[in-house]
């Protein structure tokens, strides 16, 4: 696989995974004992 392709794959997949990770972290962060069961739940 060439470098250009790897860079773009990382950019798109990594970008989406990072946003998703941040959102999931936000959901878990407030109440780590009950993953995904945030304070508002």
């Amino acid at each position: 696989m060439d470098i250009e392709l790897l860079t773009w794959m990382l950019f798109f997949i990594g970008g989406y995974a990072a946003v998703l990770g941040l959102l999931l972290r936000k959901a878990i962060w407030k109440d780590p004992k009950d993953p995904l069961d945030g304070p508002t739940g």
Binding site: F12, Y16, V19
Partner: protein, 496 residues
Amino acid sequence: MAGEEREQWGSRVAIIVAAVAMAVGTGNIWRFPRVAAEWGGGAFLVAVTVGVVVWAVPLLMCEFLMGSRSRLGNIGAFRDFMGPRNTWAGAFMACVTIGIMFYYSVVAGWCIRYFVVAATGGMQPGIEGQAFWDEFIGSPVETIGYHAAAVAFTAGVVFRGIKGGLERVLKIFLPALLFILLVLAVRAVTLPGSGEGLRYLFVPEWSLLLSGRVWLEAFTQVAWSTGAGWGLMMVYAVYARDREDIGVNSGIIAFSDVLVGFVAAAIILGTLFAVAPDEVAAEALAAGNVGLTFIYIVDLLATMPGAAVLSALFFLALALAGISSFIAMFELATTNLMNFGVERRRAAVWVGLATFLFGIPSAVNITFLDNQDWVWGVGLLISGLLTALAVTRYGIEKARAEINETSDVHIGRWWSVCMRMIPVLFVGIFGWWVYQSVVDHPDTWWNPFETFSTGTMVVQWLVLFLVVFALNDFLARRVRAGPMTETTSSSDRSRV
């Protein structure tokens, strides 16, 4: 509802899993790769990302808000957000999605059939995808039989309720689907020659971002794939726990859906370009959803080492994706029926019988299925517009404040701007589809008996509009009252 315990999802993870399973459907596997490869790869993905932010996430938040505040299905939610005079809008949305459900169960049946054949070793080298498809689709006994199997399974799930049925099944289906897709993706990207397919997907042709068509295709893909504007999230939110986080959950659903699309595209395009000569790969991508998935993929997987296992895994993933979306549509119809005072189990049986009967024309006639896909698929854009109008009527800033009350992330003014832009986007996307229909079929675009004409869309929508307009007052009175329903006439409405 007095004295009756309200059904609800068991946890936050349950509603997220159910909503992601709803959004991830067959379209992620058979449509996204095809359209992405055709419309500029990485440039298309940039346009998709903009679409997620300005169309999908705002609309999913609207649906979440409407369902969780009104605690009613689409018909009741629209009555309580837009006023009793606009109850028809909720009925229109519900009917469009139910129209899709009638043929989607047939497609789910095809997926089950292909999985059964693959799992029993029927997809070996030498199989001819076209002949295999023709034989299957030409046998009404088989197509109706598998359609019935899909309906029976789904009715059984919805029959058992939110926690005992949907939550239990979807918590198995979604992880299984994601695991299978990851296994297939690893296999695909490690095939010699797969890089060519991946280049089609990820490496941008920036000049295409200047093309209006790329943006239209990207927004259409987002509208169809994420489930925003279908009314499904609205129904799942009816069963959300109090003060469920609307902002973060909607973001998770939309971004997960697109990420799964990336993985599916890596599987399809990586395999296609690794196994087939470039011209055959291009031919397969041009063969449409059905041609690509049920004909070309069958041919290609059969030529690979481990064909039996790979085919079984691929069609299992497709079946899981199809059924998990079908469950959401079935639940939409069931919840709306329950709001008229029908008990869940009875409602699930009635919806099952109706889905089986009204799905038969699509099971025996693929032209009819194509027509329904065209009419109600484009109709979803109207449903999205109606959702945005309902929240506009309710008050965009008021809605944003309520979303922020329960969100762990602050939803800024961008959301209000997007809400105001949605009608403009609708005119652009919808206008394009009509224009496309006229250009592609210059002599027959007006003909209501043509499969893909503007005429057939307009006539079928008009019939639906007339019916829901005529029933407006009846529906507004008969749907039970929810926590938002004005009490002045609640004595007429509290029938459950």
